[in-house]
């Protein structure tokens, strides 16, 4: 009998262990729990009439509305929907970040390959980096206009300074031994970049991309709210002007969830790419 009992208790322990592991180690569960608490508090606040449902519609109305599948606002050419706006905003962030990454990579390569350019490029980039992305909005609207290219430019300016500085710092901090050994092993200049420098800077570059993404995401939304004529930010402002507070809330929640999901995706890519890091 004894072995049977211990076998059973062992099984129970395993189950308990699994549950506690799920509870305490699963980030997703904690994420759901945190949001559940917020939604419950929000609903309770509306039910107790602490929150004005005209200004802040309760989750029991907002959530079904979010999943109704027919979320649009505006008329005629100004008409836009949640899915369309989200796609436009994501496209702008993607394009701006890609161009920003390409240009900052070129600048970083130039600084490393031609040391004299370090003196020219670094002061410029160091002056650009502290400028808040939203500060570019008025300038961009005047010079480029209120369309998609303006939004891409704002994202580009939001990531250019920080990405360039991060890339240069990452390239400067590659252990000297790697470069000496690669040099000694007869590595050509192009192979040195592709097989040594690029993999060596991936850990810090991935962190820089994650940080830049938040800046870019906030910058493009601010731009869309400040005057650009489409995108998620524009949809929220239009919803506010037409007093559709359910859509305002859905838009805000969409910004949060998409930002969170992309950050998780970048983390996942990071973990896949950096299995070699000790």
């Amino acid at each position: 009998m004894k072995p049977h009992v211990s076998e059973k208790s062992g099984h129970q322990l395993t189950l308990t262990g699994r549950v506690s592991q799920l509870l305490f180690k699963s980030n997703f569960l904690w994420f759901c729990l945190a949001w559940l608490l917020i939604i419950l508090s929000w609903e309770l606040g509306s039910w107790l009439e602490w929150l004005n449902p005209q200004i802040l519609p309760p989750p029991s109305e907002t959530i079904p509305y979010a999943f109704s599948g027919n979320i649009t606002i505006g008329f005629g050419q100004q008409k836009t929907g949640l899915f369309e706006s989200t796609t436009i905003t994501l496209g702008r962030v993607g394009a701006g970040m890609l161009i920003g990454l390409l240009v900052s990579s070129c600048l970083a390569i130039m600084v490393i390959e031609l040391p004299i350019l370090r003196r020219l490029i670094l002061p410029l980039v160091q002056s650009l980096a502290p400028i808040a992305p939203v500060a570019w909005i008025p300038f961009t609207i005047v010079v480029i206009g209120i369309g998609g290219p303006a939004a891409v430019f704002i994202v580009f300016m939001a990531v250019l300074g920080t990405m360039t500085l991060s890339l240069i710092a990452a390239l400067d901090s590659i252990p000297d031994e790697y470069l000496k050994i690669a040099h000694n092993l007869g590595t050509s200049r192009i192979r040195m970049w592709w097989y040594i420098r690029l993999p060596a800077i991936i850990p810090s570059t991935m962190t820089a991309i994650r940080m830049s993404f938040f800046g870019a995401w906030m910058a493009v939304l601010a731009g869309e709210m400040a005057g650009l004529n489409s995108g998620l930010g524009y949809m929220i402002i239009m919803a506010q002007q037409m007093y559709n507070m359910k859509l305002v809330m859905v838009g805000i929640l969409a910004i949060g969830f998409i930002g969170f999901a992309i950050d998780r995706l970048l983390l996942l890519i990071n973990a896949r790419l950096l299995q070699w890091v000790q």
Partner: protein, 273 residues
């Protein structure tokens, strides 16, 4: 009797009237040091006596302010050809597997990937690590990493091997094993080896020549000893012990000088007054 391998493929290195400074401080001076082809020379001395500076000059990664370094009677004006470097750490590229690390110099020479990886497996076999070909360096022990470094070194067929305290991060047993591996590589390749170590025992086990380096007043070669001990060497051997004591006295003297350097400098100034 010394069993020095054939010197036909080793490079000849010569330092002539070298002087190298960093920020107004003389790092190292060497009037004349000749590393004969196929020899295994050890630079032995305390930290800060300019050993690594001399090694960088030998690799052609740095250049003297005065004098010159010759490789096979040609003054070095860039990285030394057919030369392999091994450091204490960061020898393997951590993002590559063991076989990719070994295949890397072969790919640099233009070998196609499949062939280079096949060759790499053979070199890994020589250091007993063919079953770890697909492992990343972070999955291997310090000794295994240094063995893979040696396998890559064999793959490059160097004529000059420069080692900067390659085994100092390893435990005693692994270090002994690595010393045997190094001697085997040296014996098979007949390459010239210039090695830095702090470890007196290691120096005596490996070297057929020891350049003793002193740090006062500037880094310089104080003495060159030819170690004419039979191989494989036995630390219990009387001759081994005698040389060990001699080297120990030198290092002890150097340590005392370093400890009392401020006092000596002060005394010097008083004498001048």
């Amino acid at each position: 009797m010394n069993t020095i391998p054939s010197s036909s493929s080793g490079a000849r290195l010569e330092f002539s009237n070298i002087r190298k400074s960093f920020s107004d401080t003389v790092s190292v001076e060497a009037d004349r040091l000749i590393i004969e082809p196929g020899s295994l020379t050890v630079l032995l001395g305390r930290s800060g006596c300019g050993k690594t500076t001399l090694l960088n000059l030998a690799a052609g990664l740095d250049f003297p302010d005065q004098g010159n370094v010759s490789y096979d009677n040609q003054v070095l004006q860039g990285p030394a050809p057919s030369t392999a470097l091994i450091f204490q750490t960061h020898n393997l590229f951590p993002w590559m597997t063991a076989e990719e690390n070994v295949a890397f110099p072969l790919r640099n020479q233009g070998m196609v990937r499949v062939e280079a990886l096949e060759h790499a497996k053979q070199y890994l076999k020589q250091v007993g690590l063919e079953s770890f070909a697909g492992h990343k360096p972070s999955q291997l022990s310090g000794g295994m990493r240094q063995r893979i470094t040696l396998a890559r070194t064999i793959a490059t067929k160097p004529r000059l091997l420069l080692l900067d305290e390659p085994f100092s991060a390893l435990d005693m047993q692994t270090r002994r094993m690595m010393q045997r591996y190094l001697l085997r590589v040296w014996s098979d390749s007949a390459a010239t080896i210039l090695m830095i170590t702090h470890d007196l025992h290691e120096a005596l086990m490996l070297a057929d020549r020891i350049a003793l380096m002193a740090s006062s007043p500037n880094g310089h070669i104080a003495e060159i000893l030819d170690i004419e001990l039979d191989r494989p060497r036995n630390p219990e051997n009387q001759s081994f012990r005698v040389i060990q004591q001699q080297l120990d006295r030198f290092l002890e003297h150097e340590t005392l000088l370093a400890e009392h350097a401020p006092i000596l400098e002060a005394t010097d100034q008083t004498n001048h007054l």
